[in-house]
């Protein structure tokens, strides 16, 4: 299809871009999705059926890993030594005096499907109160829409993905039940549930983007425990096998992998006019756009806007509010692991199959603003095979080590917590002044500073994780990992905040740029607050569906063209 014929160009094929592409193409619009990363074939690329499955992380392919710069992180204080990461083999995991990036620091997959390709697949709705942090608690910013506005879109996304969830809804009311029943809990998770009950905590099946029954032409999950390594069965609801598959089936959507957009060019009358991009063969081109959706995530979307500065927007495109790149919220997480005295075959089953929402409401942790959640975490901790047991939690060597490993295998129990990150002036994304990618574009630079609230929250999360594990029968901890001493962000938010006021927000309540009338953002960069540990993919999808509906409505009214 000639470029001029596309009604909408979407940059990024992750949760937001895919959901928008599906909604628009199934409603008759012609959509082009440009994705910087490669396409993955679940059967060919994922290696869970091979002998070396455990030694392989999520498979890297050419262009599947973005490059970033992490600015120096904060100095660690000895008074928080109980928040340092450690394991029985190596001792302190970060022996340095500063917080360090864990691997790349920002864990992101570039590819058709984006980070949903390797996500665990929790399918969460935001807590309604977590969308009103400014009004209720005087921090972050309010969402310009409320839970009721987003609820119908959550329901649509859940149907597309095939979310398996419980009947209980807690603080998140629902207009329709989950499309699929919840998954049965692993033996290890059942043990954690008993401990939670002893402590007076709730413990319910976690809403999961993994099929508990065959659905939409995809088979049910077979509980291999390795969602994060890529699901070869396609029962995990990553957007490549859900939204994008159905968008492509319309015949109105085209996806071009390994195509990097390097610049957005503005035109007259408050409209963006075209994009510059580099295709798979390395050829640089320009393409006119009628409507442009950015869905590159909370690091790359502000990078592209800042890198597209021109005479009309010297501080970066859509940055009249000076908020592009600001308000970054990263992941606040903690995982404690110990060994039970008997095997529960904890490497089997669905990751994160149960959750405790008791402290998710923003005012539920005593003395702290912002919530958190707790969930079964042994699979996400990677304790799914003998290599990780041997390298991390069973010390020693020689014949004694072999025997210890045999005895320990299947006994690991982990519980994890994820908590709210409040925006602060020292946590943001800008362009590195020197480092560039292969196309000459300046790299994004991530700055992050944990505030006092984050450290208090981490302390609560760590204390509660330890308490649950000990109550479950763990006599001695074997490993703990947290984001006090490591920057390890899988969920990042806030760098193109949405809001009603153009002076303090980059996009409006529909995800449309306050400045450029045909420019939209559909990713977690628009989140005004991070939520109390909710996984963001379902909310990104719901927001993108709503933005798509706004575009469809505007098209009918001949707006933005």
């Amino acid at each position: 299809m000639p470029a001029k014929d596309f009604d909408v160009v979407i940059v990024g094929a992750g949760a937001g871009g895919a959901a928008a592409a599906w909604r628009l193409s199934t409603r008759g619009m012609r959509v082009l999705v440009l994705e910087a990363g490669p396409a993955y074939d679940p059967l060919l690329d994922y290696k869970l059926h091979t002998e070396h499955w455990e030694a392989e992380a999520f498979p890297s392919k050419p262009n599947s890993e973005g490059r970033y710069v992490i600015a120096p992180l904060q100095t660690l204080e000895e008074k928080y030594s109980d928040l340092r990461s450690w394991d029985l083999i190596s001792g302190r995991s970060n022996p340095n005096a500063r917080r360090e990036p864990s691997g790349p620091g920002y864990h992101h997959v570039r590819g058709v499907g984006g980070t949903t390709l390797h996500f665990t697949g929790e399918a969460h709705r935001m807590h309604p109160q977590a969308m009103q942090m400014r009004t209720r608690f005087g921090v972050s910013a309010d969402w310009p829409i409320d839970y009721a506005t987003l609820e119908p879109y959550y329901a649509i996304a859940e149907q597309l993905v095939g979310v398996a969830g419980p009947e209980t809804v807690g603080d998140r009311w629902r207009s329709t039940p989950y499309p699929l029943p919840p998954h049965p809990l692993n033996k290890g998770t059942q043990r954690l549930g008993q401990a939670a009950a002893t402590l007076g905590l709730s413990w319910t099946p976690n809403p999961r983007a993994a099929l508990s029954q065959a659905y939409d032409g995809r088979p049910a999950c077979n509980y291999c425990g390795n969602c994060n390594r890529g699901c070869p069965r396609t029962d995990k609801g990553s957007v490549d096998v859900t939204f994008i598959r159905h968008a492509l089936a319309t015949g109105l959507c085209e996806v071009r992998p390994e195509t990097s957009v390097t610049r957005i060019v503005t035109g007259a009358s408050g409209m963006v006019r075209e994009i510059e991009f580099v295709d798979k063969q390395g050829k640089r081109s320009r393409m006119p756009v009628k409507r442009l959706i950015l869905a590159c995530g909370a690091i790359e979307t502000p990078r592209l806007l800042l890198a597209s500065a021109d005479a009309t927007s010297p501080r970066g495109l859509g940055n009249e509010s000076a908020q592009v790149g600001k308000n970054l919220m990263e992941s606040l997480s903690w995982v404690s692991t110990g060994l039970l005295e008997e095997s529960v075959h904890s490497y089997k089953g669905l990751p994160a199959d149960a959750i405790c929402w008791d402290y998710n409401r923003p005012d539920s942790i005593p003395g702290v603003i912002g919530g958190c959640r707790f969930s079964a975490a042994v699979h996400e901790a990677g304790l799914v095979g003998p290599i990780n047991y041997a390298q991390r939690i069973v010390p020693g060597w020689g014949k004694a080590h072999k025997e210890s490993l045999r005895s320990a295998f299947g006994k690991a129990l982990s519980i994890g917590a994820i908590g709210e990150f409040l925006p602060n002036a020292r946590t943001f994304v800008d362009l590195d002044p020197k480092a560039r990618d292969a196309h000459g574009l300046l790299l994004a630079r991530i700055h992050s500073q944990l505030g006092a609230q984050e450290i208090l929250k981490l302390q609560f999360m760590a204390k509660t994780c330890r308490q649950i594990l000990h109550t479950a029968g763990v006599k001695q901890l074997a490993e703990e990992y947290g984001t006090y001493d490591f920057l390890s962000a899988a969920h990042v938010f806030g760098t193109c905040r949405m809001g009603v006021d153009p002076k303090s927000a980059v996009v409006d309540a529909h995800g449309r740029s306050h400045r450029w009338r045909n420019l939209f953002i559909c990713d977690a960069s628009v989140f005004p607050s991070s939520g109390g540990g909710e996984a963001p993919s379902l909310t990104i999808e719901a927001l993108a569906l709503r933005t798509a509906d706004h575009i469809l409505e505007a098209k009918q009214n001949s707006t933005y063209t």
Binding site: E54, P95, N226, P386, Q391, W397, G398, K402, E403
Partner: protein, 170 residues
Amino acid sequence: MPPTCLTRRQFLLVLLWSVFAMRPSRALAQAVPAINAPGTGPRASFAQSLRAFVDVLIPADALSPAASTLGVDVQIIAHSKNDPRFRRLLRVGFKWLDSQMPGGFAQLPEDAQIRVVEWLSQADSNSLPRRLFEILRHESMSFYYADHRSWPSLGINRPPQPIGYPDHTI
């Protein structure tokens, strides 16, 4: 951080240590007097010493084979060819280790090899011996337990897919 991921600082520390400490270690000789015994055959090569070392880390027992039987030493050497820092650490580390005993590490009796490895495992955390031990332990465990022949004694006999674990609740 996995032990194989040597930071530049750690790597420089190790190299610096190796420059000043490339001589017989009195502490090691005191801990393992047997290393002073003359060798009984031709001096061991790097490959022989590595093979002996990984078999001390993961020896054969009644239920599963030794590391070298599964080619762990060969895989470590192959892996080092793609990682210059790891390759350099191995080369310098075994040069130092083999220099501590007349016939090299592989010539030592098994009980002396075990005591030498034990000494390495307790050495200063920024020293060459300790880094050598940690990296070889890490790599050996990775290659050994990635081999299906090591699995039966752990109660598993296949990778997670294509069957999965339908019995996960019991």
